[in-house]
Amino acid sequence: MFGIELKNVTRRFDNVLALDRVDLKINAGEFFCLLGPSGCGKTTLLRILAGFDQPENGRVFFGERDVTAVPPHERDTGMVFQNYALWPHMTVWKNVEYGLTMRNMARHERDQKVKRALEMVQMSGYAERSPNQLSGGQQQRVALARALVIEPGVVLLDEPLSNLDARLRLEMREQLQDLQRALGVTMVYVTHDQKEALAMGDRIAVMQMGEVAQIGAPRAVYTQPATRFVADFIGEINLISGEIKSVNPEVVATDVGEIRGHAGYENAQVGDRALCAIRPEALDFLLGEPNATDNVISGRVRQTTYLGEVEQFLVELATGSQIKLMKYGATARGAQPGDEVRLRFSQQRVIVLRDGEEDRDEAV
């Protein structure tokens, strides 16, 4: 088991920058998620780790070892492919055994390890089946066993759950986490599903157009997004633009009044164009008097949507823009379309982001 380090890795496909000077450190034994929309470079990054693709620039280290030029079959990684890539001309057993055979392991040792690996993923009864006779979830587990049986230094997973239906996905998610914890192996997990990344990762790297936008623990990435892109991509968020009036604590002058929050980026200056990012669940209807740390804005309810465990309100502000509010576990009806309401939100839950020009085009 080892950690992974990427230094200044660049990869270009026909003038499209798939990876742009990426620096990344993955700790040994960590469950690390690469998260981003399609085309952000996360799969390219994973293929570079596996050795299927070479960076034009930069180096890749497994522990102390520079593996940049090492061919895939000498890397000692175990990869789980998005389409599982189980060999259809081999049985489940042969598929799992293959990596051990390639390592010239003795027969009885192979048998033992394959048996254990299949037990680990609860596929012992299917050893003699052909992969074609298995369901998606079963194929998934065999692919996992194949990657784990060689006891690799790192397991690479390329959207392994994306071909499964929703319920199975949840089940596999838990199994995968349990396995990772039990084995203590480093896992690099590529996904475009932010919920998956939040639920599974020890840390997440959010990628955007070939660059790493933010790295951090799930909680940090969710509550403290570093850019508008990250804020938008993970979960839902309301953005109110304005200009920074004073710093520490930050006060932003907006069209709906002054909003107090805290900067999500370094060196926030008075006069910066800024966005106040507020999660919908951070908002609440103000019924009595506000606390000293609360921001308050007012508007009119446009639409309510009842979703069971949560009720969602769209509130139109004085400027005409809309803001979303979510209330969990509401038993009685909170507000109705047309109601004039005041909204409160604590200043701890307002992240002040830079309103950069470059962000504006990319963010939704």
């Binding site: 799969t43 293929r47 596996a50 050795g51 299927f52 061919p71 895939p72 079959h73 000498e74 890397r75 000692d76 990684t77 175990g78 990869m79 492919f81 998005q82 389409n83 599982y84 890539a85 189980l86 060999w87 259809p88 001309h89 293959y98 990596g99 390639m102 390592r103 992969p131 074609n132 194949r146 990657a147 060689i150 959207e159 994306s162 071909n163």
Partner: protein, 561 residues
């Protein structure tokens, strides 16, 4: 809703189709089968006994097997590396190189043999050239083993493109992520090929190998020219004259037929239930990568030298056709165009061209009609036993021409279709049946790629079924139909086994039979035959080129099993 679309026109056409296949596909085979087993109303296995006990037939069968095996192995060794280079690497001019591979197919191997015999004779160009260069002292017997080597060389040079098309398709269909997975598990190089890539290619490879084997096993023209007579095909051919006294040929034909069936059954039984394509899902990375400069150079060097060697028969046929005098010299001493003039003067060559044109036009017309109708039924209607219709229409692809032609000759002997009196109807049908799969495939591909909603849109706006067919469907698939038609025509013009077996009177000889007959009949036979061969070659090149233009890159699909 009804389970099937069976209106009266469809039903009548289907019945006609059944009758057609019954009469001209199954009856001839059945006839040969019965004749090989029943003599004077009694069941006998005497002929099969003779086949395995007589040294003559043993020898012939053994030779044919050797011919088939060696040809299959040699074409495999040629096409596997070739397929890897051309499928796995991207380089400038890839389309051109892919086209180059098909070039050797434009000459029936037996015509090439005529030229090769001149060039590789004891005192032919090659030996003389090598002796001039001081590389050898004594002339080399190139076609050693009584011509066996010569036959093998020509079969290999003619058939490796077919093997290549199958192998390349099989390789291209291997999901790259399956190889990536193996590399990830520590496999590489030949080990990766042996454990993962080749097993996955096996179904496609096997299909190609069977075609090549059967083709070499049953080729008639090439052994005849090399006078290598101890093979099954020639034995069958020789017994045509006295078929009524010696029914041995029936047994041999049935043997070839059973062999073919056996191989296809074997491939189905061992590989048929493996549907490798099905499992690959999700994002698939591209399996090819750009070739480096050195690699590109290597690819071109390999391709050009291979094509160069494969073109030796063509070049030698051309040289022979323009040689005024060619004896004991490397190149002809004097060249002449008189053999080309002779093609249009000699009564046999002239009538054979007329004959071939007529036969090809008629058989192609029949193919187009049947092909479109069958493809339409398969893609656009719900009829019972669709799979059977599909299989039957494709059957001639696997059936050796020799077997079918022999069945026609024997089965319709004594009827108004008797080829001994007037072979034209049977020749037209034989040509048509043999090429039908190409036409069905071409039309099928067109119909499948044309969205049915385009037709439904026309129906929705009030066009009748027939009108939709004529105004919407046909124009959309015209390119496919034209390409299929050109292929049928070009191959019919140079058809060998049907022509050799079914045309038994001088005045009904098609081109190929005339070439064969002229070889032995007149003093300048080889030269005149070569000139006719060049004509045929040009015709086939133009045909393939035109078909390629209409069909684009999908052309290779027509030659795959």
């Amino acid at each position: 809703m009804k389970r099937f679309d069976l209106n009266w026109p469809t039903l009548i056409f289907l019945l006609g189709l059944i009758a057609f296949f019954a009469l001209f596909l199954f009856y001839p085979l059945w006839y040969a089968f019965v004749q090989s087993l029943v003599v004077d109303g009694r069941l006998t296995f005497a002929f099969y006994e003779l086949m395995v006990t007589s040294p003559v037939y043993q020898e012939a069968i053994l030779n044919s097997f050797r011919l088939g095996m060696i040809t299959t192995i040699a074409t495999t060794l040629l096409s596997l590396p070739l397929a890897f280079l051309l499928v796995r690497y991207d380089f400038a001019g890839k389309g051109f190189v892919n086209g180059l591979i098909l070039v050797p197919m434009v000459l029936p191997p037996f015509v090439g043999a005529i030229g090769m015999k001149q060039m590789f004779a004891r005192f032919g160009s090659i030996n003389l050239l090598l002796m001039d260069l001081g590389l050898i002292d004594q002339p080399v017997d190139w076609f050693g083993g009584g011509g066996f080597v010569g036959v093998v060389i020509l079969e290999v040079l003619h058939l490796y493109p077919i093997m290549y098309l199958n192998v390349a398709a099989a390789l291209a269909n291997v999901d790259p992520s399956l190889e990536d997975a193996a590399r990830n598990m520590g496999s590489s190089g030949f080990r990766l090929f042996r454990t993962v890539t080749f097993p996955l290619m096996l179904p496609g490879y096997f299909a190609g190998a069977i075609i090549v084997f059967i083709w070499a096993f049953t080729d008639l023209g090439t052994p005849l020219i090399f006078n290598y007579r101890q093979v099954v095909a020639v034995e069958i051919f020789n017994s045509i004259e006295d078929i009524n006294e010696n029914p041995m040929a029936y047994a041999l034909v049935v043997f070839v037929l059973l062999l073919t069936v056996f191989f296809f059954y074997l491939s189905k039984a061992t590989l048929g239930n493996r549907r490798y394509e099905m499992i690959a899902r999700g994002a698939v990375t591209s399996g090819s990568r750009p070739a480096s400069r050195g690699m590109t150079l290597l690819i071109y060097a390999a391709m050009l030298s291979l094509t160069g060697i494969a073109m030796i028969p063509h070049v030698s046929v051309f040289l022979t056709s323009i040689a005024e005098r060619w004896f004991m010299t490397v190149l002809p001493q004097e060249t002449t165009g008189r053999f080309y003039a002779m093609v249009f003067e000699h009564p046999m060559s002239l009538s054979s061209i007329e004959m071939s044109l007529m036969l090809s036009v008629l058989s192609t017309t029949l193919d187009i009609g049947l092909g479109i109708a069958i493809a339409y039924l398969l893609t656009r209607t719900r009829i019972p036993y669709k799979g059977v219709l599909d299989a039957v229409a494709m059957l001639p692809l696997a059936l050796p021409g020799l077997v079918l032609a022999f069945g026609y000759l024997a089965g319709y002997s004594g009827t108004f279709l008797d080829a001994r009196h007037y072979p034209v109807p049977l020749l037209v049908i034989a040509y048509a049946v043999r090429r039908l799969p190409y036409m069905v495939r071409a039309a099928y591909a067109g119909l499948q790629q044309t969205s049915i909603t385009l037709e439904e849109a026309a129906r929705n706006l009030g066009a009748s079924r027939l009108r939709t067919l004529l105004q919407i469907t046909f124009p959309l698939i015209l390119a496919n139909l034209v390409a299929g038609g050109i292929l049928c025509f070009a191959f019919a013009m140079l058809e060998v086994s049907d022509s050799l077996i079914l045309a038994l009177k001088d005045e009904y000889y098609p081109i190929t039979k005339a070439i064969y007959a002229l070889m032995g009949r007149i003093a300048d036979g080889a030269f005149l035959a070569s000139a006719m061969g060049v004509f045929g070659m040009v015709l086939l090149i133009v045909g393939l080129f035109l078909a390629g233009r209409f069909l684009g890159r999908r052309m290779g699909e027509l030659f795959r099993a």
